[in-house]
């Protein structure tokens, strides 16, 4: 039996998946090189079997679940924004469509009178509320802050 034939089977024998036949065993016993190769292969196999499996950190599951919840929350935010943008776009399209329809039908003259009346009404309203403008600005800031806190709390709850 030749060494190159034997060396092809070394790993199988070392892994316990092949039992050496009588000629093979005789060669391994008598050939220093092949015997040493088998011993080295068995040593490598034993070392590989005795490797301790690295363990995940204690909070691994919690981290995975947190990442999952964050990914889900981000997905919901994208949907929310997309829905809001679609609503605004639809509103703009409807208003433009109405304006074009009124223009084509000649109602724009009537609508321009209505717009002028609306503008004068708003101007009158602005003059009346301008003394209280700081109060209304502060109320707007408070409302905006409340909305931001609510959004943040919703994000925290989702996570």
């Amino acid at each position: 039996m030749f060494c190159d034939e034997v060396l092809e089977t070394i790993e199988l024998i070392a892994a316990g998946e092949l039992t050496a036949s009588a000629p093979l065993a005789e060669h391994l016993a008598s050939c220093h090189g092949c015997g040493a190769a088998l011993a080295a292969a068995r040593r490598v196999d034993a070392l590989l079997r005795s490797r301790v499996a690295p363990a995940p950190p204690a909070n691994f599951s919690a981290r995975v679940m947190n990442r999952l919840r964050l990914a889900r929350w981000r997905g919901e935010q994208v949907l929310d924004w997309g829905f809001n943008i679609a609503l605004v776009t639809a509103g703009v399209v409807v208003v433009l469509g109405l304006w074009m329809a009124m223009r084509q039908s000649g109602l724009v003259i009537v609508s321009s009178d209505a717009v002028q009346m609306f503008e004068s009404g708003m101007t009158l309203l602005a003059r009346r509320i301008s003394p209280s403008l700081p109060l209304y600005s502060a109320a707007t800031v408070v409302l905006g802050t409340a909305l931001a806190i609510w959004w943040w709390a919703e994000r925290d709850a989702a996570l």
């Binding site: 292969a41 070392l47 590989l48 490797r51 499996a53 363990a55 995940p56 599951s61 679940m65």
Partner: protein, 180 residues
């Protein structure tokens, strides 16, 4: 995990049961982390990648047809993640040698009491780091309890004989690298 329990767990996860998915994570986190940590050999990166595996599992559960075992499917995802990571490392110019001074990922075991044994294990880890990613994954997976040749062949979509050949070549290479 028994096949019947696996199917039930997958169905519960598909119905949005967060507790079921946590069970799945708890059931497979040791295997997934060990496979990745032994293949990537950078513990902090291995943690991130192991988390990515479970996020991919969660995204892919609605499409999991159940033709293969859940564990086989998970091995496949782990293999893909490891190969992608290896590709990114190659693009970034990362190189490894037996003289690499980075500490290998290992947990001290009761058997590591003599310096020669410790040194040999250290050399083994560095030799494993020299193997191609696929061989490294096969070595890591085969020597973890319960991962059979057949499971690996199914997970990696390779013939059984090819898996065995790759594994034996890997061990031959390790033997050569560990020769004094």
């Amino acid at each position: 995990m028994e096949p019947v329990n696996e199917r039930e767990l997958v169905e519960r996860c598909r119905r949005g049961d967060e507790g079921a998915f946590q069970e799945l994570v708890d059931g497979y986190k040791d295997l997934v982390f060990a496979l990745i940590a032994r293949t990537i050999q950078d513990r902090s990166r291995a943690e991130d990648l192991a988390q990515d595996v479970f996020l991919r599992i969660h995204r892919g559960l609605p499409y999991f047809r159940g033709e293969a075992r859940l564990s086989t499917w998970i091995y496949r995802i782990v293999a893909n993640v490891c190969v992608q990571e290896r590709g990114q490392q190659a693009n970034a110019g990362a190189t490894l040698s037996l003289d690499d001074t980075r500490a290998p990922v290992r947990t001290p075991a009761a058997a590591d009491r003599q310096f020669s044994d410790l040194e040999l294990r250290d050399r083994l880890e560095k030799a494993i780091a020299q193997l191609p990613a696929q061989q490294r994954l096969l070595v890591a997976a085969h020597y973890l309890q319960g991962v059979r040749y057949e499971d690996l062949a199914e997970a990696l979509r390779m013939p059984l004989g090819t898996v065995k050949t790759h594994l034996f070549r890997a061990k031959q290479q390790l033997r050569r690298l560990l020769e004094p």
